[in-house]
Every structure is written in C-alpha cells, then in structure tokens.
Symmetry: D2
Subunit: 346 residues, 4 copies
C-alpha cells in the first residue's frame, strides 16, 4: 500500500471516518432496528440537525453520497420538462457522468468566477429566457444549484445567498445547495453563512458527511417538511435507500453531538491556513487565498515529480507552460506534523 | 428503542455487520488510499472473489445495495430499446419503485412458482414473441433476471440454471442473477449451485453483502472481464460509486477470508432448519419447507397480536380468512437461544 | 403494389384520408400561417371540439399519432415516481415498444376481459396497494388508462366510466382515455358514452384521427383547461410538435364540420354489422359479436392461405389447434361492394 | 387570418407543401397499402434517395419532424452513458426543449462561429477529455452533431466535413448531420458538399422535408445499412413511427423525382440572393452575407414596428441599443413579386 507512506493531501475522503463515528457503529452493532431509515438513530440525528438549522418543521433524509444526493434531490424538485441552472464548474455539470441528464433534466450552465455563480447573472438569464417568445421550445429552468463551499473552495456570503433567494422567488425557481464540504465552510473565518441561514434561504441543501469525517453519507435538509411527500419513493427509484439506514443516522447523530461537525471543519481549516501562510512566506504562488480546506498552489512542472513522490496531491489545471496548479486538501484527520512535513517540502 | 427487546426475526438486515468486518474497518481506519474503488482492499477482495468463482479473467465491482446494483447492471447490459424478463414476484418487478423503468427499461413479467421462473416458460415467451410479426412494435427482451435464492427463499438447481443459459444463448439474452441472499443459498443443504456454476452460466451476478453480514455492499461478478468496459461511468451516472470505495473492498475481502461468507450462511440455515423442524413438530403449517433462511409460517390471525408483541416478523400474505402467512428470517447473528425462545412461542 | 388488388380489411389506416380532408389541405395550401399549432385552423378546430364535448373551458391540442399521444399525455400527468394502470391488452402495455417506460413510468397491468378493465378490480388493486405498508417501495399508480373502444373493439358504458371516475377520485388517480378509434365507438348502436360524457369523466382523452379518416393526427381534450400549463414544452421535449401544425387543425376542423366524424364512424359500423350478420348466417363463428368496426372471426387454418390471397386481414390469435382468430376491420372508406365481395368469400 | 396579408418571410414552414407533393397525395389517396413505412412509396423513395446519395447499401427511414428525428437518431447511436457534442447554437442545444436530455444524453456544447463548430476545437476537446484521468467520472462523447446549413444559414465545406470525419474516427465518435434545410445548402452557389459527400462522411444524416417543401417529414440516410438493426423499435419507442408511413414515402418519392428537391432549394436561394443584393445596394447592413435562404438584416429599432406591419419576419437578436437583427427566410414558394415588394420596403 504504497500511497500510505506519502503525505496525504490528495483529497478529504482518503481515510476512514472520525474515530468517534466508528466507535458508535461498533457499540450499536448488535442492536436490531428497523430498516430503510426508520430507526431511532435516524430519528435522533434528524432532530439534532433540525435544531441546529433552526427548522423544527423541516424534514431530514440521509443518502449515501454526493452524486446520488444531487441526482435524487434535483429529480425530486423538478418536473420532467425542467432543467437546473449551475455554474460551468459545478459538480453536477462536470463530474457526475450525466447523472442529472439520465433523469431527463438539462444542466443549464452559466459562467462562474472561482466556482461561484452570481445572482445577477442568473436573473439576467431568466429575464432573457422569458423575453424570448420561443421559450416554450426551450428547457425551462426550475432550480438553481449552488455549492457551498464551491468546487474551488470559495464561499457564498449570506447576502449573496439572499440575493439568490430573491431571484428564485421572482422566477419560480427552487434553490438547492450542495454542501459536500459544508463543514469546511462553516469553520472558515471568512464564512458568515450558518446552518440557519441555509435553512432560511434554500428549498433544500445537504450537509456533507463523506468528505467531512463520515465513512459515507449526506444529510439532506428540507426546511419545509411538507414538501416532497413522496421523497422516499423517489429515493428508492434511484437506488438510494440504504437497507441499514441506521448507519447513516448513527454517524450524523454523532457528528451533531458535542459540536463534532464543527470541530472537524475547524481542524482542517487550521491546517489549510498554516499551509497557505507558509507557502506565501516561502514565496510560493497561490491561485488565490482559499477560505476553506482546499489549497491551490502553483508549482513548477519540473519539481512536481519529486514532490509527487513524497506528497499525494491532486492535479488541478495547467497554469502556464512551465507551471501547474495543484490542489492540496486537508481534512479532520490531518495531523499538525503532517502539515509541518508538507511545509518543509514546499 | 423498543424493537431491541423483541426476538428479531423480521429480516436479515436489522443488525450491523459481522464483527470481523467491523474490526477490519476499525483497524484500517487511518490508512489513506485511493478513492472510488481504486485501492488495495478492493483489489484484494476482487482477486479472492474471482478465485472463489473460478473466473480469473472476470471483473468484480462493488456497489452499495441491491436495488442500486440491479438498476446499474440491467441498464449496463440492455440497450435503450430492450427490456428484462423477470418473475412477477421478482424484486425488480415489485419492490424497487420502478428503478428499472426509470432507466427506460420495461420489466416483462412471467408467471412464477414459489418465486421461480421456468426456462421452458421463458423459451415459450421468446418463441411467441418472434413468431408475432409485430414484434418490432414491442419491447424486445434483452435479459433474464433471476434471484438465487428467490424472494420466496427457493432455489434454482444447477440444471435449471443451465437450461436458462441455453434459452438465453438461443435468443440472444443476457442472464443475470440477483444474489442478495446468496450466502443462504450456498449454505443450503438442498443447493447444488456453487459460485463457479454461477460464473459459468451467468453474464453477471452479484454476491450479496447487505443481507449476508456486511454493513452494506454487493459484489458484482462479470465472468468475462472484457464486457462492459464503461461500467464505471454507468455506475457513476447512477450515483452508485462510493467515494471511499475501500469500505466495500474491506468488507468483501474479509467475507472471502477463511470461508467467513460460507459460515455466515451456514449459521442462518442451521437456525432456519431448527425453526422449521420445531414448527412442524408442533403442528404448525408452513407455506412450504424453505431451503434457505426465510421461513414462511401460517399463523392464526387471532394469535398474531400477542406473538407480534414478542417477536419481530414480516407480514407475507393472507392465507385464508382466519390465517396469515408470516415470514421469519434468520441471519448470521441469530443466536441459538433466540431460536429456542422463538420455538417456545410457536 | 400487390396489396391493392386484395379486399382490404387488414386495418383502418391503410388508405389516405377522407376526401373532404384532403380537399381542405389542397384549398389552403398556399396560405401562410403561424407554426407549431398557433394558427386559425387549429383555433377553429379546437373551438368546435370543445363545443362538441361541452367543455368550453377546456384545452385541445393536436398530436401526430397514437403512441406519441399516449407517451406525451401520460408523461404530462404523471410525476417521475408514478406509474399508469392499464389492461394487460392495452395498447401502451403491448404495442408501443416501451414508450411509456422510456419516460420512466411503469405500466401496471391488471387483468382484462375482452380488452376491458373493471373499476372494481382497479379499486381492489389500489386498496391492496395502500394496505401494504411497503407501498413506498413500489411504483405508485397515478393514472388509469382506458381505450374506448378497446383493442378488442369492445365498449365501456357510461356507468362503467363513471365508476372509474369514482375510483380515480378516491385514490387520487387521473383518468385518461385513448380514443384512437373513437369514431367507431361513437357510431356504435351499443354505445352510450358521448363526447360530453368523456369530458365529464376524464382528466384527458383523445379523439382519434389517424384510424378515423384523417391522414394522421389525434386531438387531445383536457376538459379543465387550467391543467398542464407547460404541455407545449412537454410535447416539444417528446418531439411531438408539428411545425406545420395547421395540417392537424385543418383536418380536425373538417372532421368536426357537418358531422363528418360521426358519418365516418357510421359508415364503418354499418359494414361491420353486415359482415357479422352474414358470418353468423353462414355459420361462421365469431370470437364475440363486436360492437364496433373490428370483427373477430374464427377461421379454419386450412382455409387461411386461400382466403389470405384474396383478402387482407390481421392475424389476431390462435383459437385452437385447427382454428385461428382473424381480425377484419372496416373504415370510413369501406365500400358496400367490398363488403359484399368479402361476404361471398366467408 | 391576419398574417396572410403580410409579406411572409418569417420562416420556411409557413405554407403547405409544394403542389406536386400534394397532387401525389390526392392521386394515391384511395390506394391501400401496408402501414408503418412498409409500402411501395417508401420503398421507391428510399431507392431514389440511396441512388442520389451514392450509397446503394444504405438504409433510409422517414420521420415526421426535425426534433423527433434528432432525438431518435442520437438515442439510436449513443449508449446510455454517452453524450453528443454540438455547437452552443445547435438546434439540439437550444430549441428542442431538452429532447436529447429526456433520453438521458447530455448535449456537450462547444463554442461556434456563425453557427459552425470546428473540427480542431472538437479534437482539442477530446484530447483534453482523455488527458484528464477523471474522465470516467464525466459524460463520454459518442457523437458529433452538425447542422448543414447551420442555424445561421452558414455552410460547412467538404474539407471541413472530412476533417470532422477524421476527428470522429480518431476518437470513436459517430458523425451526424441535421439537414433540416438541406435543400438550401445543396442549391447554394457557395456549397461544395453534395449528397454523396454527406454519405461518405457521416454515420447518418437527414434530408429535411418540412422546411424544404413537404407538408412534413424528414428522410434519414444511414450509409451503412447494416447499422442500427433495431431502429424501427427505437422509433416506435419514441412515438416516431407514422401509421400511414406512405405519406412520407410519397412526398420524398416526389421530391426526388425530376430534381424537384434541387429546384425547391434553387428557387429559395435565388430570392435570398436578390434580397441581399438589394439590401446592400440600399445601404442596409447584413449580419453577414448568407449563403442560403436565411437572410440576417440589421434594422433600426424605430422602423421595426411599421416594417412588421407589412412583413412577417423573425426576431433574431439585439444588435446594439438602437438596432436589431431580424431574419428573413425565403422558401420554395417565395414569389419574385413578393421579393420585389419586400425590397421596396427595405
């Protein structure tokens, strides 16, 4: 297992789970409960999440992964003739192998900046759409998809989110936020979007587990619990109902006990800040100063082979002929000494 | 958690995992590996499974649950204009919320007996299909779906499976076997279909984990590994790729170490046999003598409420005005003393 | 063109159009109008149809063929997780190549008698469905599909239709009637379901043109015109919007001028009655006495080859080892002398 | 019918059919033939088209409209996990209401110039696609979609088409050409892509009828007739098989008799050239000099209302704050005196 020996900054889903989650699974292993999410752990986790989000009347369901969650939720909100607006760099636009289209929905891509869509661009698109009298011949947008943090690790502000809400209200769009890495947004010193803000602005959003310390799992929050009464069947139709649903409930119950989810985010942010501080100090160029756990560093092509022998990283994009942007991701389990070792290598 | 106190025979996915699997997850938790099934554990598990199946040139992939596996594999084998033949009682016909249809494929249902389809009926259907000159106006079958054991716990024999293979060859159909509870088939004294027989007869089949001792997960075997070169993308499109794919690899690697998968099946069969022996001795009517881990017992409606207060069971179907068929399922973790207590109540 | 010389009773879509329709196309050929159904002829036809149906607040749209119409309308009414109930012999169950499934909807088939579904069976199915606590794991019915006349040429009575309406109201189902051959129902002496009855009972139905004297085209009636506000886009998504939509409007405008649609039906029924009277008189066995334009006659297998050399007919089904049921269909253009010649051959 | 009185340059599908086609329908109206495209007229038309294309071993099928044809053919060639590359301005990208996505296929849009995609851009996209090791997580292109002429009326040259063929061969892509307005390409003095060139370069293309003088209908040519053996079923599944298929056969048989299709194109081109010559002479700005039947003229916003009272035109796009680009389309039936009257108004 060669990769074990390298410093592991390739992504935030390369280890197992935060030990407290695993411990919880071990302790409850022989208990016998209902299946398909009908069990006390799911109930307890949902209650804690609703409280944290300030939406006691909401509904919380647990799914297994990000692509699955996006596919289910977008399909659940859209009618067959509707599409979803997303940034060109959105996960659903790029890296979900057409999961949205496979349910018949077009992903309508708009330009982005550092992964962020703007409410103004979205409003402009919608105005032009309905101004064109041939609009019934076109895919009608029914939803806006955002990621918080974005695929570039950047953040929407509360004000920006509220602007999206206004645009969505104006044009009859649902607002959905993909929070695959939400822990890292919540823990960012630059962030002012809290869980209750998401609940106040979104028709639905999800709190990521897979990339934030769980073995796997995402918790979808639908602030108005009267929406989507047939969501279970839609999940089942997508093959997205876990038989032993309690595995998801147990993990999220633990994540929302004693602020563990916040701690997980904070640990990763702390290390990402240290990496960026050190990189700048050492004269390394950053693509931009990232507010979350993904650090984008410009490296010379010539040094990458040696660096790659010691550090697992992700290729991001070419920078110029002689340089490459790489991504270094921290997570809940990044040890300060690993960061130290990485800094030495920069 | 009220349900804990009852004797738990409602189904075989009500507990966590066999302790050895959980132990394996704990031990490897901090290791850092590649994602999406590209890791040493998946590689090792695949190698062990291919060896057990006698198909060294095969391909093994891991998915998260049964409905998802069926949806992915049926979609992977069929062209857009094809459908899949299944028993009316098949899981894909009844309890998957239209997952197959949602990918555009009709489930063509044929009559069954105790959950079993017959090769002769299938051949007859195909003969009539092509004899009807309007067949291009109809959904063209492209696959036969069987369950081993069936949803009634019954078993196909090796000879029956070979007959299906012949019918499939004759009419250009893929043969796919859903092995959600395969451990219990393999361990049944009445069974003569071994893993190499499945590999010899099927275009693909899956070895069930979720209902056979894993936290979750199913291992798909494609004996001819050159088939379905784009399976990963199809899985991704279905939201069926687990980011931390090693969780599946680790579990199946353990299941196929030191015959654990066989032992899990054997333990459940032993208890099922004891229940059926005792029931018959006590004059209880069985719907039929089940060869696997699902026992179908005819109960008086009047006694069900009290019985249900002490035992978790599944309602199966009405028997007559005064009687009901219930299902009692054993699993890897059913303790002999639980069986004793159940027998006392019968 | 060998088939021209035979007596043509194979089906009711073997000729062109009623001459009045063709004349109308010729007369208006050089007029320039809006496309996609936005033209005076469509407007006029819709107005006449709404008047004939007694639903002035309704909506009428024109599509190109039966399979297309069924696919569009069923998809328009159903949510992604819903299916449609139909007779096992329903056109959508059998002869539409999975068009319904290709939009993700299961066709849930119930037993039939001479092509007819019963409201009681439908109610029973729905009761059992919701009585089963696992129903969220199953495809939820959202519509009942009936054909008037059925694929066997039989008719629902007004009372039966009203019973379906009650069942649909009780279980939240839409009621949709496929009227591919509606002219022949309306003209049948046994029929008591008039256009206003269909409008009163159905959420939508269509008035068939293709098999009732038009070159092609079906007119969908949605009695409550506020339903399906995005139907145009759904049609477009299905490739079901005719650029020169006026071709459909012109034909239906003519069909609903001076009772032409009724006359077309009456002519076909008159000849079908004559054929059946003669057949019975000659001791020929009918599968049953058909109330509409499709006659089902039991023939000896030995005589079919010679008969088939003189008459175009459709094979229907085997009757017994020595006999076959054939279908003879009359239409608007069946000449009395053709019927005479056919009778001579019986 | 207010629109009749205006000069009609709004589009090329505002009238009925070329009189010779209508005459053919009238003459054959009472003939009785097989349905669903199995008739002598379809056979004859297919033979003439194959001869004109120089692909005697090819297959020709007839569909009802452009969106339907694109949806069927793209679905027929692609596997479930594949997408289609198109210009951002391609008809399938913009104006087909998501018909391609509704069958599960992503439309992958690339930049264009005056409606044209470039083979070099396509090759670059494919190179980058496979260079990215995460490509199995993305929609895999399986086809290139071009329009000849494009939605802007521009033309690919034979050399450009051959370059696309090379790129497609290199990356395993099918090449499909949408010829909705092919008659106008073939008749353009700037065109050097003849029918045999299309047959030599494409996996499939269609010869447009609806916008080129037919009542409706498009003829798909598949130069290698052994491809897509189940195309009929795919068409049926899309609701795209016309019961009286001969209507399509008769029209295309006539279009390919005595060079009618060429004459139709030539008449429209002649008038388009006259309009453009006159516009330039009068100092009118053209968006560009169009080689086909769609003329794009820059008009002052202030004059549009009066102009629009006399001429039916299509809004194309804003030019600047004070100007608008309008589209004027000629067709087979545009009379020289209509063009004269239009020129007077420019």
């Amino acid at each position: 297992m060669d990769s074990v020996k390298k410093l592991a900054f390739a992504s935030d889903y390369m280890k197992g789970a935060h030990p407290r989650l695993l411990q919880r699974l071990v302790e409850t292993n022989l208990q016998q409960t209902g299946g398909y999410g009908q069990d006390p752990a799911c109930e307890s986790a949902a209650a804690k999440i609703k409280e944290a989000c300030g939406c006691p009347e909401g509904k919380v369901v647990f799914l297994m992964g990000g692509t699955q969650t996006n596919a289910v939720m977008i399909d659940a909100f859209l009618s067959s003739w509707q599409g979803v607006i997303a940034a060109q760099t959105g996960h659903i636009s790029m890296h979900e192998a057409g999961a949205i289209e496979s349910a018949g929905h077009k992903v309508i891509t708009l330009p982005q900046e550092q992964g962020k869509l703007s409410a103004a661009d979205t409003a402009l698109y919608m105005e032009k759409f309905y101004a064109d009298e041939t609009w019934p011949h076109m895919v009608c947008p029914g939803m806006v998809y955002l990621s918080q943090p974005t695929e570039y690790g950047t953040l929407y502000t509360r004000k920006e989110l509220q602007e999206f809400r206004e645009v969505c209200d104006r044009f009859g769009l649902a607002l959905y936020v993909d929070g695959a890495r939400l822990a890292y947004a919540l823990a960012s010193p630059e962030n002012n979007v809290l869980l209750p803000d998401l609940a106040a602005c979104c028709d639905a959003f999800y709190i990521g587990g897979t990339k934030c310390g769980a073995l796997f799992g995402e918790a979808v929050v639908i602030p108005d619990g009267t929406r989507l009464p047939h969501l279970f069947t839609i999940m089942k139709q997508h093959g997205a109902v876990l038989a032993k649903g309690r595995l998801l409930g147990l993990q999220f119950d633990e994540l929302f006990t004693d602020h563990l989810y916040e701690q997980i985010g904070a640990a990763a942010i702390r290390e990402a800040v240290r990496i960026q501080d050190a990189a700048e100090k050492k004269g390394r160029k950053l693509l931009f100063r990232s507010p979350t756990n993904q650090v984008f560093c410009v490296m010379e092509n010539d040094e990458l082979q040696e660096f790659g022998g010691k550090v697992s990283y992700s290729f991001w994009e070419p920078y110029d002929e002689k340089h490459t942007v790489i991504r270094l991701a921290t997570d809940w389990g990044t040890l300060p000494e690993e960061t130290d070792a990485l800094i030495d290598l920069l």
